[in-house]
């Protein structure tokens, strides 16, 4: 018996409705929100969450997790910034280093979890501390601003025409995210890597029995996550005037929360990059939008926590009802 494929069954569709609803509410009730600069600002701060979200979707599909993405992102941004500032490394190389560090930590996570068999939360909790420690060894560093030499990297996310007050800024990063979303959704659904990620999350033994090298793919899942954390570091550096050591813990919540809102299953086997995109958008709307309608910024943390629980509970209750048939 095939399930009715109505749109209402797709959590992503409901999430999209919620996202649009939120935007409408903000638009109607907040004069500030209607300003172009506000929307720009919100988008600016969404890119690093979005990139972390794309990356961590893969471990979550395998019923694992990567808790080191928040501190990792800040760590790589600090290291990169320090190299630019103190060692005069060109920004392009620093960006590459961010990505390489992300991949390296991702590989470490992958080996701890996929090969050595540590539970994902304890392994990534530890690498979270380690990256935080590494990051703390650096001083607070700003990456070059738009006007300074090397500041071209800002234009990856935001194009600026003209200068001074009258400058027009265009959020090209948003479209970049859309493109990445399409690419990664393709990877998830149409490549061996994506296919086996889902298979491992759904039934690891059956996948192994079918002759697939699950250890290899399990490790790759975390490497991909690390890669995106590296990218997120660049996006983070682009919007943070001065990256502070010791920060970052808690940033992973926004990304992970967004992935769950987007419909990933708490027990693994299902996930969608499109869902992650919409979910992270909702989290960002809540994050930056709440002050516009009068709620303190700290409420955002509480709400993110509650949103995560609700999203997971919905998934659990759905499963419970299906099993009771």
């Amino acid at each position: 018996m095939t399930k009715k494929k109505s749109l209402l069954n797709d959590q992503r569709f409901i999430a999209l409705i919620i996202a649009i609803l939120l935007m409408v509410i903000y638009f109607v009730f907040s004069k500030e929100f209607r300003k172009y600069s506000s929307i720009l600002s919100m988008l600016d701060f969404s890119y690093y969450d979005m990139l972390m979200g794309f990356g961590v979707t893969f471990p979550l599909i395998t019923a694992g997790v990567d808790l080191s993405i928040g501190t990792g992102m800040v760590c790589y941004a600090l290291v990169g910034g320090t190299l630019v500032r103190n060692n005069n490394i060109p920004v392009a190389v620093a960006m590459l280093i961010c990505i390489l560090m992300g991949v390296a930590i991702g590989l470490l996570n992958g080996i701890l979890i996929g090969v050595m068999g540590l539970a994902p939360f304890i392994a990534t909790l530890s690498t979270c501390m380690i990256t935080r420690g590494i990051g703390s060894m650096c001083n607070a560093t700003p990456w070059p601003t738009l006007q300074q030499p090397g500041g071209w990297f800002h234009s990856i996310f935001k194009l600026t025409f003209g200068s001074g007050r009258g400058a027009f800024k265009f959020p090209i990063g948003f479209f970049l995210m859309l493109v990445l979303m399409c690419v990664m959704e393709f990877v998830l659904n149409h490549t061996k890597f994506g296919r086996y990620t889902i298979a491992i999350g759904s039934n690891r033994e059956a996948t192994a029995l079918s002759g697939i090298n699950v250890k290899f793919y399990h490790v790759m899942v975390y490497v991909v996550c690390g890669f995106f954390t590296g990218l997120a570091a660049i996006a983070y550096a682009a919007v943070t005037p001065t990256v502070q050591p010791g920060t970052g813990a808690g940033l992973e919540m926004d990304a992970i929360g967004g992935v769950f809102v987007g419909g990933v299953s708490a027990t693994g086997g299902y996930g969608s990059i499109i869902g992650t995109f919409i979910g992270v958008m909702i989290i960002c709307l809540l994050k930056t939008g709440l002050p516009y309608i009068g709620l303190q910024a700290n409420w955002q943390q509480i709400i993110t926590g509650v949103v995560l629980i609700v999203a997971v509970l919905i998934d659990i209750i759905k499963k419970r009802r299906a099993a009771a048939v």
Partner: protein, 326 residues
């Protein structure tokens, strides 16, 4: 070596624990020898270590119960801070009597414990997800409640509430150590001599077998988290008694250190095996370690990296030992 292992005293305490005690002593000796001025500073370093031990110890004791059920709670750091901040706010802004503030702090810990326990045991939400969510809620709630202002608890010079610091020490007598020792003993009694402890350890080892013996496993699994919440609340009191001021937005690093102390001491992450004595020794080791790192002039960064590595090593050792047994 075998003869040593067969010795009844060694058996009672546990061979691994003896090793840990040796590690602790060796560490102290190494610090005295290797760090300039460590021994010369007299009791300063020991006192600093003790301050750390008190709050971390209560955190570790709490999380021992949770890990014994095969679960996890890494919201304890931020929850501890939430307790301290809210209690502090009640003290400073609402001018509530100190005793009431202490009770409030502990109750908040309990509330989080009840919430976490209910979600994990009755709703079957994966423990790490609830930890993440609670962590955030604790941070956010604390910041909202205190309007993001740090809170200070009374110093010993305080005319009315100066007695607060007496829970740490009175005229050099380490009251805190006595309290902690009593708490550890109580935890040990609960774990090894009460129904609650028996059920927790058994269900952590094989939940289904215990359920099929007619035991209400949900109730007892939740009780482990409630215990953790209560001890986290107490940890908050010791934290502010030692360090006076708490700032919103922090607390994460203590999660890992508490878990590290626990796992190092022989509590298995898979569940079913727990050692209060091991946890206590583990906490001492971590506390002394961080004091040594500080004395060396190295920053918190090294401490974080070291703790992270310790957890990985300890958990991996546990995983391999289990694999070998099977």
């Amino acid at each position: 070596m075998e003869k040593i292992k067969q010795n009844p005293i060694v058996k009672k305490i546990g061979f691994n624990r003896i090793i840990l005690i040796c590690v602790l002593i060796l560490m102290y000796v190494a610090f005295c020898v290797g760090i300039k001025g460590f021994a010369a500073a007299g009791t300063k370093h020991l006192l600093n270590t003790m301050n750390y031990v008190y709050f971390l110890g209560f955190l570790s004791l709490g999380v021992t119960f949770v890990i014994a059920t095969g679960g996890i709670d890494f919201s304890i750091g931020p929850v501890m801070f939430c307790c301290a901040l809210v209690g502090g706010y009640c003290l400073n802004s609402y001018k509530m009597p100190l005793v009431a503030d202490i009770i409030i702090a502990i109750v908040i810990g309990l509330v989080f414990g009840i919430f976490n326990g209910y979600m994990v045991a009755y709703q079957k939400v994966p423990a790490f997800i609830i930890s993440m969510a609670s962590m955030n809620i604790a941070k956010g709630a604390a910041a909202v409640f205190t309007k993001t202002q740090s809170q200070s608890w009374p110093l010993s010079t305080d005319p009315v509430n100066g007695w607060f610091r007496n829970i740490i020490s009175v005229n050099g007598f380490p009251v805190g150590l006595v309290i902690f020792a009593i708490a550890a003993v109580i935890c040990g009694i609960i774990l090894y001599n009460t129904k609650m402890g028996r059920y927790i350890l058994c269900l952590g080892s094989n939940r289904e077998a215990v359920r099929l013996s007619g035991v209400n496993t949900k109730k007892w699994e939740m009780s482990a988290y409630v215990m953790c919440g209560l001890l986290t609340g107490i940890a908050a009191i010791f934290f502010v008694a030692a360090y006076t001021t708490v700032q919103p937005g922090y607390g994460d690093q203590y999660n890992n250190e508490a878990i590290a102390g626990c796992v190092m001491g022989g509590t298995s992450m898979v569940g079913g095996l727990a050692s209060i004595l091991g946890t206590v020794i583990g906490v001492f080791i971590i506390s002394l370690l961080q004091e040594g790192i500080l004395a060396l002039g190295l920053g918190k960064d090294i401490q974080l990296i070291v703790t992270g590595i310790i957890v990985i090593v300890a958990v991996y050792a546990d995983v391999t030992a289990r694999r070998r047994k099977n």
